[in-house]
Assembly symmetry: C2
Homo-oligomer: 325 residues x 2
Amino acid sequence: MVTRGAERSFYAPVDGELQELQRRLLQVGNGGHPTFAAAVQHLFGSPGKLLRPTLVFLSARFGPSTDREVVLNLAQSLELVHTASLVHDDIVDEAEVRRNVATVNATWDDDVAIIVGDYLFAKAYALAAVLPKPEVIAIVAQTVFALCDGELNEVTATRELPTETAYFERIELKTASLYAACCQGAALLADAEPEHVAALGAYGTSLGLAFQITDDVLDVAGDEVDFGKAVGRDLAEGMPTLPMIYAVDEMADPALAARIVAPGKSAAEVRELLRTIRASGGVERARARALAFHDDAVSALDALPPRPERDALREIADFVVSRVR
Amino acid sequence: MVTRGAERSFYAPVDGELQELQRRLLQVGNGGHPTFAAAVQHLFGSPGKLLRPTLVFLSARFGPSTDREVVLNLAQSLELVHTASLVHDDIVDEAEVRRNVATVNATWDDDVAIIVGDYLFAKAYALAAVLPKPEVIAIVAQTVFALCDGELNEVTATRELPTETAYFERIELKTASLYAACCQGAALLADAEPEHVAALGAYGTSLGLAFQITDDVLDVAGDEVDFGKAVGRDLAEGMPTLPMIYAVDEMADPALAARIVAPGKSAAEVRELLRTIRASGGVERARARALAFHDDAVSALDALPPRPERDALREIADFVVSRVR
């Protein structure tokens, strides 16, 4: 499984499920419109990190139920929700590349991307609808509402630097809710003990927050080649993130805030702002905040019984904050 | 219920359900993002014809089960699916007005409209997922796949006049599948006899085909004030419909086909083409085809027991082909 990074040991306990999931994801377009089928091959032909399904499969090991099929359905459903929301986000963001692969809107056009996203959401819900527990179906639906709320927060945001709290609210909706759904939903399906379900939900939320802050740090301070996408995209769009919020605070410079949230910056202005923010201490403070969420995630795991899957979840938390892409 | 056209007697048997549905539709945005809540008020504040929910409520009367709640959930789910697909279609079509009301993309922007559509789809699926019959949940999912297939057919269409058969396939996917789902899904939920379920499904399909052909005829030959939207929109976009296909056939003029499918026409060219098509006999032939589907729909009702709800379904078929908007 070189594509996922063979060096990552946290995949090992659930390698069989991940291979089956990848097989199923590539079949999602079967029987559909040729353009949808082509988009599915395009999207799932070069798999990403598959962190979310890995969380589903690992979390499902903490309950007595071993119905592999329902857990695969949840993993596929949530991965499709994630992919559908990315396809629509890429239209909104006018993004041309994601994970070194051309986006659907860039490969086809915005119209096709709207419908491909709708299709993927529909496939996701069709899988969720047959899950045996209504509370897990509700979690999937709530996750999509959260993604929509988070995305609406972004597109309707005023041109002001948000507070740290408003930023956390946004990334909880846009990122952490899906991580929490993976862990909590899988534990529920596996009939895990309520305190283990809660622990996995808390782990997922903290992990998602740590992941998103790290992503936002990489967009400011990452190496473009490692990162696999252009650096400074958030700045170019005027999308304020935590390292920027902290940079303004560290430098006590309201003029910097206005420059950060300005839309349609020149490449030179983006480079200049990147230098300023990197020099401010804001990046280090944001990394420290991600590490604090990492620690929260790891602490939540203390409530779980010791087993290889718990070690793997711990490794995922470490990976999420140490990754360079 | 003046807004729906108080003169239409087919609403009468299910007026209570329709009022409850309208109340619920207006609440769909409660608890959501303020922009989503505002869009919901905008979309459901001036109700349309509510033909699809009327079909659900009438069809549910042909089975012994009288669980009003599940039937309301199906009606709301399918109306939300319909509305969500319109919100996304209006982005693709760059439409500014629908039913004399500004579209979501025109009132806000395309980005908001993408997310509002996603939100409405998610609300629709959340309602469908709790329906007590998996086969009805599957019908809702299949309907969304059909809508997506139909829309992908449109946006990926080559600039050629389709055959009559290809046109029927497209409108079956884009329109008739949803009508059939309303009738068939409601009959299944009501535990209707299998032959009554089949009859209502066949009625819904034929009704939907008659509806869409009539809509396409109105876009060529309707009165702009009556129709409630600009006439000639399909022509302006180069979207070929049945009266155009028949006009080319009647006039045996391949050059006309090329003019019809040309994108980005001038207003003068649209007016000229409207005159040509109206004079060709293509409009009358398309109206006759709609009437034939109307007759199929009415014939399907023969399999149902005589009762006021059957009369109402008959009246809906008459209304669908005689309407001017």
